[in-house]
Each structure stands twice: as C-alpha cells, then as structure tokens.
Amino acid sequence: MSDTHLVDAAGPSSTDEFVKGLWRENPVFVQALGMCPVLAVSNTALNALAMGLATLFVLVMSNTVVSLLRRFIPKQVRIATYILVIATFVTIVDYAIQAISLEMYRALGAFISLIVVNCLILGRAESFASKNGVGRSILDGLGMGIGFTVALLALGAVREIFGAGSLFGVQLFHDAFQPWVMMILPSGGFFTLAGWLLLFNWLRARAETLNSAKLADALEATS
C-alpha cells in the first residue's frame, strides 16, 4: 500500500500525461466522451482515421493556446473563450480538408464542424490545459487525441470489415462474401462500440482482480 502512495506523491511524470489518454483514461473506451462522432463517422476505417486526426489536431492546438493564455483569461469568461479558440481551429481544419480532398470532405460532412461541441476537447481545455503548463498540455492533448483516433479506428475497422468486406477500401474477402450492411448503418456502430466496451471492461476487471489477489498475498506474507 505504502509503495503506491509514494509513487502518487511524486506527481505524474510527463510520459504519464501522454500515456494515460491511450489506455487508462482512454476518451472513448473509458471516459465515453464524444460519442456522437464516434458512432457516426466510424463506418469505414478511412473516415474514422480522418475524423480522429482532425480531432487530434484541434485538441492539441486548443490545449496549447488555452494553456498559453491561462493567466490572461479571467475565469468568468473562460468557457466562451475556450469555445472561440476551439471553433477557430475547427474552421481551419474544415478548410484544410476541403483543400486536401473533396471526397473526404463529403464523407465526413457535418461532423467536422461538430468537433466544436465534442465535449472531449472542451473537457481537456477546462480540466487540464487551464491548470497546467504548455508542455504538459501538449502531451495531454497528444495522448487523448491519439487515444481517440485509435478508438475510432478500432470501431471503423471492425465495421468496414463486416459491413463492406474491406479495410481502407481494399477488398479482403472472396466475392462470395455477403456484406453485413447493418454494420455500416448507425445500429452497427452501437453494437461495435458495445463489443469494444465489453472487452475493455472485462480486461480492466481482470486486472483489478489480479491486483487485489497480489495485494492480499503480499499482506499475508508481511503479517
């Protein structure tokens, strides 16, 4: 027991700020934040990747700016200011995607503009970037953003494989494969998300049982 307390007292390391978003506090699988784009644009792996990267960019940039300006922004107007900063970066991403590929822009549709109201981004600005330095805030944004992207990809890949028989547009199966259309429709998104959450919760529960068993052993040995 005392050992773990010592580690906590030392404060989280920089790598920890990065890694926590990937696994322990994964925005989708653990915090269940930003479900709207997760369900809507994960119908193919490519859409999921593009949405994830767009969110990652906005998250890192808004974390950086909010952290830089955190002493300059009075707390009464902080939410309005954060939204302003986030909306600016979303607009930039919107134009950038239009310039890179119209096809991609059509596929993502309204969901690019809706990154503004993704609670993950405002959440990180409010609960992390406004209280921490720039370096840590960037790491936090990177970790959370990559965690979000990986989660989206996990959904998008499963849905595309079952729903269209392909991955990143590459046909995987023989012609005889009958695509499971339900998977690329909204209902497929819910089922896939439920499957992943089930897996993650099971993994976590198992890890906790193992930990407490170990702890009990250790306590027995010392007493």
Binding site: I73, Q76, I92, Y95, Q98, A164, I184
Partner: protein
C-alpha cells in the same frame, strides 16, 4: 405524497449591488475581444490561403464528371444560358443552374451536352450531372455529384451497375412540336423495364432511385427542348478555341 406547504421563498431575491466578486470588467473585455480578433484573423488567413485550391478541386471534380457522363467526349467547353441562346462562359460568369457543358470528340464534333440538376433525396439534396446526346435523342450517362444517402442502401444510386445501365441510352425524344418530350421518363419495378424511356428502380433504395428519376424528368422537360432549339450555338467552330482537353487536364482518373 402529501402536498407540501407552499413556501414563501418564491419572493424575488433582492438584487445585490454589483458584487465585487465579478471582478474588474476590463480584463474580461480584453480577453474576449483580443482573442476574438486573433481568431478572426486566423480564419480569414486560412480561408484566403485555401480558397484557390478548393476552387480548383471543385472544378476538377466537375470536369471529371462531365467526361464520365459523356463517354465519347475528348474535350469540353462550358456554356451559360442567356435567355435567348447559349454563350461560352468564362469561369464563374454563369449562375450554377444555368450552365451546360458541351463535349466534343477528337475530330471536334459535338457528341453531347452535360446538364446539372438537383432535387431532394432521402436524407438531403442530391446533385446530379447527366449527359444528353442530341444525335441519339437520349441520356447517355449520369453521375451523382453530391449525396448524403444512406450508406449501403440509398447510395446504390451511385454504385449499382444495374441501375446505372438504365442511363446508358435513356430515350428522351422530343414530341413533334419540339417544345416538349414525346414521353415522360418513368420509374418501374426492378426488372420490369420494357421501353427505352423506363428505368428499373432499386430494391432497398426506392426513395433515392425515385428521387433521381424525378429530378431527371423535371430537368429534361425544360432543358432538352431548350437545348435542341439552340443546338447551333454549340457549333464546334465557335467553341474551338475555348476547349479544354480531357487528357491534358486533371480529368484523367483511370
């Protein structure tokens, strides 16, 4: 549950004089206005920087579509409708709904005209480009420019080969008076097509396929008589200099 006694607390709370807790107003203005101005500048800069690229992407996408709906065309010229005839449109002259694209083959002969139309689909507006070959009195190809139809169901209007085959030679012959179509395009049950002006619908995409046929019927009614009246305006001699080739531009998507 018993009725709770009415509490007198509903009386208006006396409004306190501006509490010192709100703090000075100036830093708030400074933060909001300052950040607002910076954000505005950033957006304008990015908009200006990306606009030419976005324009070029859209033009290239449209150009590609023109050569898809007019398979025999080797070059194309944009025309605008001016009420009493067609004029070559330079760039953005003509309004979106009043433009047609004339396609010419390698010998400079007019092979067809591409017309844009739009209409309500199942989810949102569908934008469609179709090719009309005057010599054959027929629609020779369609291409969906923009649609948000349900993936896997409604989007079959773009992918279903059986459905698209309906538009390879769809009869739109003019009536004897030249002012209307001899027969209206109509949609029939999948597999029931017997006449060249009929279209097989798609099972599972009924609303989307009917929407395509509806907008095509509406547009051909207006445009086919109008185009055939002014067919001379598209004479190759007039368009010769303005033509853009299919192979020279970014239209190659093989």
């Amino acid at each position: 549950m018993s009725a709770a006694p009415v509490t007198p607390a509903a009386a208006p709370v006396p409004t306190a004089p501006v509490p010192s807790g709100i703090g000075p107003i100036w830093p708030m203005y400074r933060a909001m206005v300052g950040i607002g101005v910076l954000c505005g500048l950033a957006i304008v800069t990015v908009f200006e920087a990306t606009r030419p690229v976005i324009r070029r992407n859209q033009a290239a996408a449209l150009e590609r579509a023109v050569f898809q709906v007019l398979p025999e065309a080797a070059s194309s010229v944009t025309f605008g409708y001016a009420g009493d005839g067609f004029e070559i449109a330079d760039g953005e002259d003509a309004a979106d709904g009043e433009r047609v694209w004339a396609g010419y083959d390698a010998d400079g002969r007019l092979v067809g005209l591409a017309i844009e139309t739009s209409g309500m689909g199942y989810q949102d507006t569908i934008r469609l480009l179709y090719g009309y070959a005057p010599e054959r009195d027929a629609v020779v190809g369609i291409r969906v420019l923009e649609s948000k139809e349900t993936p896997g169901l409604g989007d079959k209007i773009e992918t279903d080969p059986g459905f698209l085959r309906n538009f390879e030679l769809l009869d739109v012959a003019l009536a004897a008076d030249g002012a209307s179509l001899a027969r209206s395009i109509e949609v029939v049950k999948p597999g029931a097509k017997t006449e060249p002006w009929q279209i097989d619908g798609i099972t599972g995409a009924t609303i989307s396929s009917v929407a395509i046929v509806d907008m095509l019927r509406r547009s051909t009614k207006v445009w086919i008589p109008r185009l055939s009246r002014h067919l001379d305006d598209f004479a190759p001699a007039r368009a010769g200099e303005a033509a853009t080739g299919a192979s020279g531009s970014e239209a190659e998507d093989v």
